[in-house]
């Protein structure tokens, strides 16, 4: 019996969510009196994971696995779980992990709970709390299968340092050709910019900014904060900003530490997409804008006056605090 996690990395570096699911899995492992094993791909040195409670790493090295492949990766995780007699597999909620999680569940005959937001309520019976109804409710789910797959919602547990002794093995997984029927031909990725998925802070603009020519304000504020930029649906529909920046129900979900909405009224579909962000700030001229009902901090004011001041003050703050 042990816990398995899939520790996601990018260009040889672990993503923050890898440390978060490690911290989470370590906590459950302690309760059950077992240890955490991580599956990694093409990571010669995964010792950083030991800082968050991972005792063992099974690293798979293969040229076939340099780019993510849901079926092949899920098959490797399945083989690792069987080798370790794992009863719990913990995954993150990135696009890639959400892609492979149901495949892992089927191959292990495991029950799967996604969007889990807290430690299990109980381990016997095994109950977890998860987001449902677009963050408007929680659902307590009981998993009755012997093996369980959990998808942890981003930023719901945080990182907990817990240094343990560690060893890394190279894992010779069997890679049948049938795992590679879905081929990635090319990848287009924005480089040198914080992505919405990885960002700790997101600065988002709405129609209140009056036109694409004013997006310099959003970008400058984002750059001061090391944040990603996003926009509301009308803004992407109007073509002011690319679709990839649209956040909300039919756009990208945002579960960040700080979400700053500028000139966004707060339509219910927008809120549904950003609601699991921890702290929300709204800047809007209209005091009746629905966003004020869901925000933690609000400024009623004109973005064209407030935001430049905010940028200036934040620069001073960063200079003093860095």
């Amino acid at each position: 019996m042990s816990l398995i996690i899939y520790a996601e990395s990018q260009e040889g570096r672990f993503k923050k969510v890898a440390f978060e699911i490690a911290s989470y899995a370590k906590n459950i492992a302690d309760t059950l009196g077992t240890t955490v094993t991580a599956v990694t791909f093409n990571t010669p040195d995964a010792s950083e994971l030991s800082k968050y409670g991972v005792s063992k790493v099974l690293n798979v090295t293969s040229d076939k696995l340099t780019s993510f492949n849901a079926k092949a990766y899920s098959d490797v995780i399945n083989q690792a779980a069987k080798k370790e007699n794992a009863t719990i597999v913990v995954l993150s909620s990135t696009t890639d992990s959400n892609y492979l999680a149901p495949l892992v569940a089927i191959s292990l005959n495991a029950g799967f709970a996604s969007n889990v937001v807290a430690l299990p309520v109980s381990t016997s019976p095994f109950q977890v709390k998860r987001n449902a109804f677009s963050n408007k409710a929680f659902l307590f789910t009981e998993i009755s299968t012997e093996v369980k797959v959990l998808g942890l919602a981003k930023n719901s547990f945080g990182l907990i340092e817990n240094q343990v002794t560690f060893n890394q093995e190279s894992f010779n997984a069997t890679l049948n050709d049938s795992l590679f029927r879905v081929k990635v031909e090319s990848v287009e990725k924005v480089s040198g910019k914080v992505t919405i998925a990885d960002a700790e802070i997101v600065v988002s603009g709405g129609r209140g900014l009056k036109g694409p020519e004013n997006w310099g304000l959003i970008e400058e504020l984002a750059s001061v904060l090391g944040a990603a930029t996003a926009c509301s649906k009308p803004v992407s529909d109007l073509g002011w900003r690319p679709h990839s920046e649209h956040v909300g129900q039919t756009g990208k979900p945002v579960a960040t530490n700080l979400y700053i909405a500028i000139g966004i009224s707060g339509a219910i579909q927008h809120i549904a997409g950003i609601n699991s962000s921890r702290v929300k700030v709204v800047i809007n001229t209209d005091p009746d804008a629905p966003f004020f009902k869901v925000a933690d901090y609000g400024i009623v004011g004109d973005a064209f006056e407030v935001v430049p001041t905010l940028i200036q003050k934040l620069k001073e703050f960063k200079a003093q605090n860095s």
Binding site: T95, Y99, A110, F112, T141, E142, E200, T250, V279
Partner: protein, 248 residues
């Protein structure tokens, strides 16, 4: 080409979310139900294949008789026929097992689901269905082209997109981008009239394994009111974000 579009009957986004029977059940009272938005993008793309590449489109839903208006709407939009599996779904795994049976019986080449439903947000049905069928699978799919048995698809990834090539049969977890919002169709009178005479087959569920069950729901605690900060006092906002919220 035979396409199966899997439809979830979900509360409209603007619905009030309440629970009854000791918080064990969603309160459907006064709730307007719609085709799950992610499914509707997939359905509309399927209709495009029907019109451009002579595909036939079947829509399927797992649910009680009360979900039939949602299937009729899909027929009015242009699907050729509908199937309702007469069961109350217990989780995504249950739905995937039921859908797998429909796929096996009907030998579909393309199965399009939404990547996630608005109600349970499980995001597990397309992947589990692909897993059960051992079919090729593309999730978070924003573009789909089919030429003979060759498939080209685009998958949205964190911070970009990737172009994928594969072959039929395929399961798609679809979303916006398969078609754009402006391409979605509102059923016209002729569509609604024709939909009445199209076949809607009701099937009983097949025996299935149980993996999870919903125990109870909980509403998030009421939020404390927004702290308003004067536009002339930006220092206070920075102070609160730094010292109180600890996010900068």
């Amino acid at each position: 080409m035979k396409i199966l579009v899997c439809i979830s009957h979900v509360p409209d986004t603007t619905s009030k979310i309440n629970f009854i029977n000791g918080d064990s059940e969603f309160d459907t009272n006064g709730v307007q139900f719609v085709i799950n938005p992610n499914d509707e993008f997939g359905l509309t793309r399927a209709i495009w294949f029907q019109e451009q590449q002579a595909a036939t489109v079947t829509v399927v839903n797992v649910g009680g008789p009360e979900t039939e208006p949602t299937l009729r709407k899909a027929l009015a939009i242009g699907a050729n026929e509908a199937i309702r599996i007469n069961a109350i779904s217990t989780d995504g795994f249950f739905v995937a097992q039921q859908l797998a049976e429909v796929v096996k019986q009907g030998s579909y080449d393309v199965i399009i689901c939404g990547k996630e439903s608005l109600d349970y947000n499980g995001g597990m049905v397309p992947g589990m269905l692909a897993g059960i069928l051992d079919a090729n699978f593309v999730n978070s799919c924003t573009d789909l082209k089919i030429d003979g048995s060759q498939v080209t698809a685009i998958r949205e990834i964190d911070g970009g997109k990737e172009t994928i090539s594969t072959s039929l049969p395929i399961v798609i977890g679809g979303q916006k981008g398969l078609v754009e919002e402006k391409d979605l169709r509102i059923p016209n009178m002729r569509g609604i009239m024709t939909a009445r005479t199209k076949t809607l087959t009701v099937l009983e569920p097949v025996a299935s394994n149980v993996a999870t069950k919903a125990v109870k729901f909980e509403k998030p605690p009421a939020r404390s009111a927004v702290k308003l900060i004067s536009a002339d006092n930006i220092d206070e906002l920075i102070n609160l974000l730094h010292n109180e919220a600890k996010v900068i």
